[in-house]
């Protein structure tokens, strides 16, 4: 300081010294700053930068498009389509001005509603009301679910405050005829029942994800890090269903359910050699375009309902008896009016006109008495095994959601009457799919084939076929042919279901009118009127099963299910180009003369003498 005072004013330091002091201070401060910068940008940078990137990174899920469900011919039964919901900002819409005759006029809500309605086909009054109700609000739905093309035309109107939000909707082009089978995916994207649920995993695909750095206003930082895992779209599923046939079948069932005042009805068309389901229609159905569905409506009774097979089971009993050599077609029988077994007196719906019936006659006329009389000769285990082999009570391995296994009680649980009732189809329960299996086996020369609903799926762009269905020989081809020849009598003019006949084709089938167990009432109430058959009988191409549940007008399987069977069979045969039958149905003997001599016996022995007659409960 002393040196600085050498000049001029007392108590004043020379600026040169002060300036040197300040420069020194500045250098110290900037050195500290530089050290801090080295720390921030160099030494600590890695961890801080990682935290910074972590905060900026955002992951967005890329939805995977759901696979398409096709029918056998490649017709889409369910597909995902892009749709738009039109939204509005009423505070902007009200300023809508148009040039009318060269003058600018503010047309507001009314004008906007009219112009939009003209494009979308909506009611302009409804649109205008929506806008007025939300006056002052900044956002409202205006019209939901329009096509992207419609939205483009609405957008072109350039009405202020009209926007759209995209969404993907599951479309079902064939509507109600397919609905219970194909299933339903609502706005939540969750599958509800049907094939949609059955193949949920394959159809859904794997959503991808996109990771990128996000700026403060939610925009993507173009120079930032980004990575993308593309979504894997769901696989397409190809069904065995023929959508034309399905539609026709649905229409026929629907008409019959309405005509007979029934609770419900369903029909299945199957290829007997492959087990492919060509149609599986049920009514009532639901409209898949509705936003919401009830679980009751979504239920598919065709796969879920179990009911007593009734006369259908007689085919199993007959097949078993023929195969085991207990009887042959012309085995004479004497039918009693009452048959006491297991503490019960069994009887037919009406007493037989002619008690002298052959085995063929017993099956053709669906006699319960006759069926018990030859069926009781089968050991319990054997009868049970045949029922299982024909598909009754078999595990439902089709995979259809809610598909029932049915219920065939094993012999050790049988009551005193179980065996007798089972021979003619009571005391056990099965689904329609299991019942059609019996006829498929007969139609396929005695070989049971598991039903198949899916032909294959498109995996990674190439079609992968499902393996052929499992096959199981149940009875010999001869037995099958014998059963067929008897069943050809059923749709004949003299049989129980002449309405089931198809002009020009040989048809074999069986009616069934089973008492229907009502789970709500807890007792038998009403009937299940059914008919199952196949054609052409000489070389079966198609098996069709029809069931009408709890009809209120009419009762018999032949009169209710028969006409549906006939119509669907006629349509399906001609559609598939099956040539009409050239041969006649074989003559079968239904009755016999008890006084005629029995062939192969001693002279004087008549057919009446050797006939199977009620000789009391057989001892095993």
């Amino acid at each position: 300081m002393a040196a600085a005072r050498r000049r001029g004013a007392a108590g004043v330091v020379h600026p040169q010294r002060r300036m040197r002091f300040m420069l020194f201070g500045i250098l110290i401060v900037f050195s500290l700053f530089a050290a801090q910068l080295v720390k921030l940008q160099g030494l600590d940078a890695a961890s801080v930068s990682a935290a910074a990137i972590d905060r900026r990174l955002h992951e967005v899920s890329i939805p995977a498009s759901r696979g398409v469900i096709y029918d056998a011919n490649g017709v889409a039964l369910a597909e995902s389509v892009e749709r738009r919901n039109i939204t509005a900002d009423p505070t902007a819409v009200i300023t809508y001005t148009k040039r009318i005759d060269g003058e600018r006029v503010e047309v507001g809500y009314e004008g906007a509603a009219q112009d939009i309605a003209e494009v979308t086909g909506a009611d302009p009054a409804v649109l205008e009301k929506t806008l007025r109700d939300h006056h002052g609000a900044r956002w409202t739905w205006l019209q939901k679910d329009v096509s992207p093309q419609t939205w483009q035309r609405v957008k072109a109107l350039q009405i202020p405050g009209i926007y759209a939000e995209p969404f993907v909707k599951r479309a079902y082009p064939l509507g109600a005829s397919m609905a219970p089978l194909v299933g339903w995916v609502g706005s939540s994207g969750m599958a509800a029942n049907g094939v949609e649920l059955m193949f949920e995993e394959q159809l859904t695909g794997t959503p991808g994800s996109m990771t990128y750095e996000l700026g403060g206003r939610g925009e993507r930082i173009t120079t930032g890090k980004s990575s993308e895992t593309p979504a894997v779209p769901g696989e397409d599923v190809h069904l065995t269903i023929d959508s034309d046939l399905q539609w026709f079948t649905y229409d026929q069932v629907k008409a019959m359910v309405e005509q007979s005042g029934a609770l419900s009805g369903y029909a299945v068309v199957m290829d007997p050699t492959t087990g492919d389901l060509l149609a599986a229609a049920s009514y009532p159905s639901y409209d898949p375009t509705d936003d919401q569905q009830t679980s009751a409506a979504l239920r598919n009774p065709l796969f879920e309902d179990v009911y007593e097979p009734g006369s259908t089971n007689k085919v199993i009993t007959a097949g078993a008896a023929l195969e085991e050599g207990i009887i042959d077609l012309e085995t004479p029988m004497v039918l009693p009016n009452r048959l006491p077994r297991g503490g019960t007196r069994f009887q037919d719906a009406h007493d037989p006109d002619n008690p002298y019936a052959t085995f063929a006659g017993v099956l053709a006329t669906s006699s319960n008495m006759g069926t018990i009389m030859y069926g009781e000769k089968l050991p319990d285990e054997v009868l049970y095994e045949y029922m299982r082999d024909f598909g009754m009570g078999r595990e439902a391995n089709l995979g259809f959601p809610g598909q029932s296994n049915g219920l065939v009680p094993p012999p050790d649980t049988w009551s005193a009457t179980s065996k007798y009732t089972m021979t003619f189809g009571q005391g056990l329960a099965s689904t329609m799919l299991q019942q059609i299996g019996v006829f498929q086996t007969v139609a396929n020369d005695g070989v049971y084939v598991e039903p198949r609903l899916v032909k294959g799926a498109d995996e990674d762009g190439s079609f992968v076929a499902e393996p052929d269905a499992k096959e199981d020989r149940v009875v010999s081809a001869e037995t099958a042919n014998e059963l067929t020849s008897i069943m050809e009598y059923v749709p004949s003019p003299e049989g129980t279901a002449p309405q089931a006949a198809v002009e020009g084709y040989r048809v074999a089938g069986k009616t069934s009118t089973a008492d229907r167990y009502d789970p709500q009432k807890g007792r038998y109430s009403g009937v299940t009127a059914g008919f199952i058959g196949f054609a052409p009988a000489d070389d079966p191409e198609l098996v069709i099963a029809v069931a009408i549940q709890r009809p209120t007008r009419g009762k018999w399987g032949g009169e209710l299910a028969g006409p549906v069977f006939s119509e669907v069979m006629r349509y399906a045969l001609t559609q598939r180009g099956v040539s009409p039958s050239t041969s006649e149905a074989p003559e079968i003997t239904l009755h016999y003369d008890p006084d005629a001599p029995a062939p192969g016996e001693d002279p004087g022995v008549t057919l009446g003498d050797i006939a199977i007659r009620d000789e009391g409960t057989p001892q095993q």
Binding site: A9, G11, M22, Q36, Q41, I221, T223, G224
Partner: protein, 417 residues
């Protein structure tokens, strides 16, 4: 003249360092150092303002160049003004000093008239003919010139504190600072106080006064800080070690600045590559432009900017040391204190060594008034540099830039004949 001055040592080898030292001793060295540092800072500033503001500009106006073109316009005006100022003789500045101060105080007072425009809670802008202007920026220039002129007049009596204070501090500086304080622009107040104090310190006023004032100021600051939740929060964010992430109250800007600097790392993400300018770091082209410079240009970028301010400080020091004119010394000191203290407050805020005060980085940050005023300040500093003994002669003996440039063009044949 343009050959590199080389001093040969005994072995006859050239010593570059020695040559550089020789060159720095030249009377024109401060002039060229200032000219170069200013040109570089303004250039870096323009490029970085464009980069940092492009995203925000596009989002608000649809034009990425909106902020940049304005800044370019102001830079053009500022450069013209600065060049003119650099050619104004020192005596004219002396003469202008009181009038400038009066105009500055008058403009600052206009802030409280209907012409004033409030901005972000501060009242320090006025709007004239569609242009908005921050008079306090020009107040800094006026204060420096006024202070230098007054202290020069009072040179003989600077030993007495009453003469030091009147009329420089009271009423001059006090009035201006009071008006700015009334507009709640704390950052500018700090700069104006620094200029006032720095000039008095540079003029040689006894150190004990500064010790007393510094003690009083520290006590006052502590009292004010404890009395205000907002200020305590800022201090907590500064030295409380609480800023673990940007969501902590009061840490958003500080942590995002750290993120930007860390993203840049040693060598930067490259020009235009900043992530934090995407609406994350507030004021990326303004108070926090250094963070974006660090993010895009890395440590070389930030250190270069700091180095250029050191160059300005060194050049100013050379003016003070070389000049014989007391006015020139005090004015150079004042302008240096202004620019360097403002740069320190800004950089310190950005790198977390100071609480966030909110002053722009001189010559670099976006902002028209600040840039024009800073360029005017640099113009005055250049004018002071030109007045150094020997400088005028050196500069005057040089052919003009235009003539030197044209000298490389072949002469027309006409002349040879």
């Amino acid at each position: 003249m343009t050959t590199w001055p080389v001093r040969r040592d005994e072995q006859g080898r050239e010593s570059v360092a020695a040559g550089l030292g020789e060159r720095l001793k030249s009377p024109v060295a401060p002039y060229y150092l200032l000219l170069g540092a200013t040109a570089l800072l303004v250039s870096i500033g323009l490029v970085m303002v464009l980069s940092a503001s492009s995203v925000g500009s596009f989002q608000t106006s649809g034009n990425s160049y909106k902020v940049f073109t304005q800044q370019l316009m102001f830079a053009g005006a500022g450069i013209v003004l600065g060049l003119v100022a650099s050619h104004i003789p020192v005596r004219v500045w002396k003469w202008l000093a009181p009038w400038g101060m009066l105009v500055a105080i008058g403009l600052q007072a206009l802030v409280f008239t209907p012409l004033g425009v409030p901005f972000q809670g501060n009242r320090n802008w006025i709007a004239i003919a569609g242009m908005s202007l921050q008079p306090s920026e020009f107040g800094k220039v006026a204060l420096v010139v006024f202070g230098a002129a007054v202290l020069t007049k009072k040179r003989k009596v600077l030993g007495r504190i009453s003469h030091v204070l009147v009329p420089f501090v009271i009423p001059g500086a006090a009035l201006l600072i009071g008006l700015v304080l009334a507009g709640h622009d704390l950052g500018t107040v700090l700069i104006l106080v620094a200029i006032t104090g720095g000039m008095m310190f540079g003029a040689g006023v006894q150190a004990r006064y500064f010790v007393v004032v510094a003690a009083l100021a520290a006590a006052g600051a502590a009292y004010m800080a404890i009395g205000s939740a907002n200020r305590m929060e800022r201090i907590q964010a500064w030295i409380g070690n609480i800023c673990v992430n940007p969501d902590v109250q009061g840490c958003f800007q500080k942590v995002h600045a750290e993120y930007a600097l860390a993203d840049g790392g040693w060598w930067g993400l490259g020009l235009g590559g900043s992530r934090e300018k995407w609406g994350l770091l507030p004021e990326p082209h303004n108070d926090f432009i250094l963070a974006i410079i660090g993010e895009e240009l890395g440590l070389p970028g930030t250190l270069t900017v700091m180095m250029l301010f050191v160059v300005i400080a060194y050049a100013s020091y050379r003016i003070v040391v070389t000049s014989k004119d007391f006015f020139v010394r005090i004015a150079a000191c004042g302008i240096m204190v202004w620019l360097v203290s403002q740069a320190m407050l800004n950089i310190g805020s950005v790198i977390g060594m100071l609480p966030i005060i909110g002053v722009p980085l001189p010559l670099v940050s976006s902002g028209g008034s600040a840039l024009v005023a800073a360029l005017l300040g640099m113009g005055i500093l250049l004018s002071l540099a030109r007045s150094l003994p020997g400088a005028k002669a050196s500069l005057g003996s040089r052919p003009s830039l235009l003539r030197r440039t044209l000298a490389v063009v072949p002469a027309p044949r006409l002349r040879r004949r």
